[in-house]
Amino acid sequence: MAGALNAALRDELAADPNVVVFGEDVGPLGGVFRVTDGLHAEFGEARVWDSPLAESGIVGTAIGMAMYGLRPVVEMQFDAFSYPAFEQIVSHVAKMRNRTRGRVTLPLVIRIPCAGGIGGVEHHSDSSEAYWTHTPGLTVVTPSNPADAYSMLREAIRSDDPVIFMEPKSRYWAKAAVELPVQTEPFDRAVVVREGTDVTLIAYGPTVKTALETADLASEEDLSVEVIDLRSLSPFDDETVGASVRKTHRAAVLHEAAQFSGYGAEVAARVTEREFYHLAAPILRITGFDIPYPSPKLEEFYLPTPERILNALGTWEWEA
C-alpha cells in the first residue's frame, strides 16, 4: 500500500504543478514509511521538502499556501504527532471555508499514518479518527487496500475540501496485484467487500482485513457475514450501510480505537436511529478497550481478532 500511495503522490505532483509535499522527513529520506520515496529527487526541493519539526507549523503554513492556490499534502509522522496541530486543524482547516462564506477554499490533505498492530512503542499506534470525524468541516477517509489507497489519495488531493487522510500503518506492506493508475469508487461511497446474509460487519482501515478473516471463519460455522468497508468516515454512507442492515438485520462495527465516545458509537447510533425497526438485535461495537493503546507485548490482547468478533456475535440472542 505504501507503494500505491507513493504512486498517487507522484502522479498528482506530475499532473498539477500546484501540488506540493512537505513535512518531517518526507524529503531525501522518503518518509519513515517510505510513502514519499523518490519524490524529492524527482520533483526537486521546490515541490517536495523537509520542513522544520513542528506540526502546528506544518499545518499552519499549509493553510497559507492553500489560500494562495497551492494544494499542499502534508504528513504527520504518526497519529499522536498530529496533536500539536490540533488547533490549526480544528479552528482553521475545518472552519475557513465556512467562516469566509465560501470565499476561501482550502484544498489541502493531511496524511496521518494511523492505528496499531505494528509493535510500535507508546504514541505510535493511536487511532485519532474520532477527534476528526467530530469536527464539522473536515472530510475523513481511510483506505484499506492498495487500489483504494491510490485512487482515494488522488481524489483527496483533487478535493476542494480539506481531507484528513488516514493510512493504516499495518496495511503499508499489504500487496495486491493492482495495475496503476486505478480508479475505484468515489471516496464518499462505502463498499460491500464481501456479501453475506446474516450479519453486517462495518469496518474501515485496518479492521477491514480482520472483518474479512472473520467472515471466512464464520462461513465455517455456516454464518454468512457481509463486510462493508466504509472508506469514508465523514461523510458516512447511510445508503450502503442501511441497505445491508435492512437485509441482515444485525450489525457490528469494528475499530481499533478505544470504544468510549469512539467512531463506532456514531455508526451504532445513526444506523439504529434509521433502521431501528429492521434490527433484530442491538448493534455491537467490537473495538479497542477504554485504555491507552498498549505496549507491543500486550497489543494482541487489545486488538479485535476474528475470534473475539465471532464470540461477540454469539452473545446476541439468535432465534433457532
Binding site: E45, S56, T61, Y68, P72, R99, T100, R101, G102, D188
Partner: protein
C-alpha cells in the same frame, strides 16, 4: 504555475551539519535597545544619526498617514460608541495604537497580503474594506464579512498567533511561484508567548519567506502586563534566535513604523527574507467592551500614555512643516465624519439573516447528512411560521 527558477534550492543555505564553525550560519545583529524614532514625542524630527539608517518619510506621505490615523481614530471611537449602544456583540478597540496599525498597513502594496487579528479593525478599514464587512463578525452576523481574495486580507484571527503561520505559508507559496508578494501579520505581545509565534518565526527564518511580523506590543494581554509574558529585554530580541533581522520601534511614531515596515516589505519582496518588528504602544481602551481595566491598571498609567498620543505627535510635526493648513484639517475631518456616518448608518440598518446559510459552505462537496439537517431546520421554521399564522401571532 510558474516556479521561480532561482529556487533549485529553495532554502538558499548550504547544509553544514558537520561544522562547529558558527560563521556558516546567519550573523547576529542585536536589535538596537533604543527604540527607533524618527519623530520624537514633542513632534520634532530625530537627528539623522539616531535614525538607525532609516529615512523620514516625505511630508506628503506623513500627511497621508496623519489623515488615515485621524479617520481611523474617529471610526474606532464611533464603533466603540455603537458597541456601548448594543449594536455590536463585542469590539476590541485599537485607540492609541493608530501609528502602528496605520503606519504598517499603508506600507503594503495592493498585491501584498495582510493577516490581521481581532485588534486590527482600523487597519482593515484603512486597507479599504467596507466598515460593515469588517464589523459583521463583531455584530454577530457571520464570522467574517469580506472576501479575503478581493482585499488580499485574511480573516481577523481570534485563536492567538495562529495567523502568523498562515502568513508564512502564503509567503512561501508566493516565493515558490516566483511572485513578488509580501505577507504582513500582526501579533500581540501576549500572543508572542504562544508556540505558534515561535513556529512562525522559525519557519519564516528557515524558509526565508517574504514575511513581515509586527509584534504589536500594547503592553497588555487582556489584564496581563508584558512583564509576565517575557523576561527578555525586548520582544524584538527574539529575532536573534531565528537568524532574522529584528527591530525595536516606537509604536506611537507613525513615521518610524512606516519607514521600517516599508523597508522590511521591500526586503521581503526582493527575496531577502522575513523581518520581526516590535512596535511599542499602549492599549488606551479596555481589552473589549466587556473588560474592566480598573481591576488591573491605574488610570494614571493611561493618562501618561495619552500624553504620548501618536496623532498629536504627528500633528505637531506636520504643523511645524506647515503641511496642516485649515483647509487640510477640514478635509480630513470631513473624511473622518463621513466614515463615521457611513458606519453608523450601516450598523443601524436592519440586517436579515438567513438561517439556511448555516449549512452552506461547511463543505465544497454536497453532503446528504447535512442536507437532511438543513431540511429539518427549514421544516421547523416553516411549521413555526404556519403555527404563528394559525394562532394569529403574526399578521
Amino acid at each position: 504555475m510558474r516556479f521561480n527558477p532561482a529556487l533549485t534550492s529553495v532554502f538558499g543555505r548550504k547544509m553544514v551539519p558537520m561544522s562547529l564553525n558558527v560563521e556558516t550560519r546567519a550573523p547576529v545583529v542585536l536589535p538596537d535597545p533604543e527604540p527607533l524614532r524618527l519623530i520624537d514625542d514633542t513632534g520634532r524630527a530625530v537627528p539623522v544619526k539616531r535614525r538607525q539608517g532609516f529615512e523620514l518619510p516625505s511630508d506628503e506621505r506623513l500627511l497621508e498617514l496623519y489623515r488615515a490615523m485621524v479617520v481611523a481614530r474617529r471610526w474606532d471611537t464611533q464603533v466603540t460608541a455603537l458597541t456601548r449602544q448594543g449594536r455590536l456583540a463585542t469590539y476590541p478597540s485599537a485607540l492609541g495604537q493608530e501609528a502602528t496599525e496605520i503606519g504598517s498597513v499603508l506600507a503594503l502594496e495592493k498585491t501584498d497580503w495582510l493577516f490581521p487579528t481581532y485588534r486590527d479593525s482600523i487597519a482593515l478599514m484603512t486597507r479599504g474594506i467596507n466598515p460593515v464587512e469588517i464589523l459583521s463578525g463583531f455584530r454577530g452576523d457571520w464570522h467574517s464579512g469580506w472576501d479575503p481574495h478581493a482585499h488580499r486580507t485574511s480573516t481577523q484571527s481570534t485563536p492567538l498567533a495562529t495567523q502568523a503561520l498562515h502568513a508564512v505559508g502564503m509567503g512561501m507559496a508566493a516565493k515558490l511561484r516566483g511572485d513578488s508578494v509580501a505577507t504582513l501579520t500582526f501579533v500581540g505581545d501576549g500572543a508572542t508567548s504562544e508556540g505558534d509565534t515561535h513556529e512562525a518565526f522559525n519557519f519564516a527564518g528557515v524558509w526565508q519567506t517574504p514575511t513581515v511580523f509586527i509584534i504589536q506590543n500594547n503592553q497588555f494581554a487582556i489584564s496581563v502586563p508584558l512583564a509576565k509574558q517575557t523576561r527578555a529585554r525586548t520582544l524584538a530580541d527574539r529575532a536573534i534566535g531565528y537568524g532574522v533581522p529584528g527591530y525595536y520601534v516606537d509604536g506611537n511614531d507613525a513615521a518610524a513604523v512606516h519607514a521600517i515596515v516599508t523597508a522590511a516589505l521591500d526586503r521581503a519582496r526582493s527575496g531577502d527574507g522575513p523581518t520581526i518588528i516590535e512596535c511599542v504602544t499602549y492599549r488606551i481602551e479596555a481589552h473589549t467592551n466587556s473588560d474592566d481595566p480598573s481591576r488591573y491598571r491605574s488610570s494614571s498609567d493611561v493618562t501618561e500614555w495619552k500624553s504620548r498620543d501618536p496623532l498629536e505627535r504627528l500633528e505637531k510635526y506636520l504643523v511645524s512643516q506647515k503641511m496642516l493648513t485649515d483647509a487640510v484639517r477640514e478635509s480630513i475631518n470631513t473624511d473622518a465624519e463621513k466614515m463615521a456616518e457611513l458606519t453608523r448608518d450601516e450598523m443601524n440598518a436592519e440586517v436579515s439573516h438567513d438561517p439556511m446559510e448555516l449549512f452552506e459552505n461547511v463543505y465544497a462537496a454536497e453532503r446528504p447528512g447535512l442536507r437532511e439537517q438543513r431540511d429539518f431546520l427549514a421544516a421547523e421554521i416553516a411549521a413555526e411560521a404556519a403555527a404563528a399564522v394559525g394562532s394569529g401571532v403574526a399578521s
